[in-house]
Symmetry: C2
């Protein structure tokens, strides 16, 4: 056990033991609740749309053209996973691959019109399924909650440039 360390000198960045214990607890609860909500929502509104497609297309919509390795990094997945995912999207006609003129090793992935339509339809479906079960909720409250989650993710991505 390390609980007998001198509190004055125990700021070891590896263990994080100098953080607020209350914060540790509520952060663990937060991810539990976010994860459960996500799982329940996707069981209700999932349809048969591949969730990796939604993630990748959302990123491409947000950032424009992306390299394979950038997709992997932004999606917290490995490069081979991103390669396979892009292949599926190309086969489905939702994205297009182009060589980077400045670096012929690289590939730039862009959404097609069909990809934009697919993503919009997916979001409509998800929103409609959920709204049907939650029609009494206040949209502005949900919007605020959504923004909080967004901000928290930005902070988690890089604590220095946000928050």
């Amino acid at each position: 056990m390390a609980t007998t360390n001198d509190p004055e000198t125990s700021a070891d960045p590896h263990t994080g033991d100098d953080t607020d214990p209350r914060l540790r607890v509520v952060l663990a609860e937060l991810v539990t609740n976010a994860s459960r909500l996500t799982r329940l929502a996707s069981s209700i509104a999932g349809g048969d749309r591949p969730r990796p497609w939604l993630r990748a297309l959302s990123l491409l919509e947000e950032y424009g053209g992306l390299r394979i390795s950038e997709i992997a990094r932004l999606d917290s997945s490995s490069q081979p996973t991103a390669t396979a995912l892009v292949k599926q999207l190309v086969d489905a006609g939702l994205v297009r691959r182009q060589r980077d003129p400045d670096d012929s090793r690289a590939v730039v992935v862009e959404m097609t019109e069909s990809g934009h339509h697919w993503l919009a339809a997916a979001r409509d479906d998800i929103g409609a399924s959920l709204a049907e079960r939650m029609r009494d909720l206040d949209a502005e409250r949900i919007a605020r909650l959504s923004r909080s989650l967004h901000d928290l993710r930005e902070f988690l991505k890089d604590p220095r440039t946000s928050g």
Copy 2:
């Protein structure tokens, strides 16, 4: 296209088209943000703990003893998935199976002491990993956010009995 329907008579419960369009949009955004936060957090704090174990043990801690089919339902998974999951947890010594005295077809699954320890340690690790990157956040704000997500899930589970 169904966009030319008479708005007065288009309250078809199958399509949900009578719900607030703004609500549909923000709900779709909410699940996107919750899902992305979950994914990022688990890539940071995931460790190598099986996520299904965390889900199942959290349910058992919350509800006490549960049947296989109850675990499946509460976890939004199929019964065979729950059977396999419980088998893994039994093999790891984290839960114990007992026959239901009132119904000898049924199985009641309960956490062992080891299971409680495992879950507590997992949460400590997750909380510590996240708190290390987010040490400047206000714990009470996170707690409120966490509660909102919890309440929203309760509402989504059964819109009539919560809100």
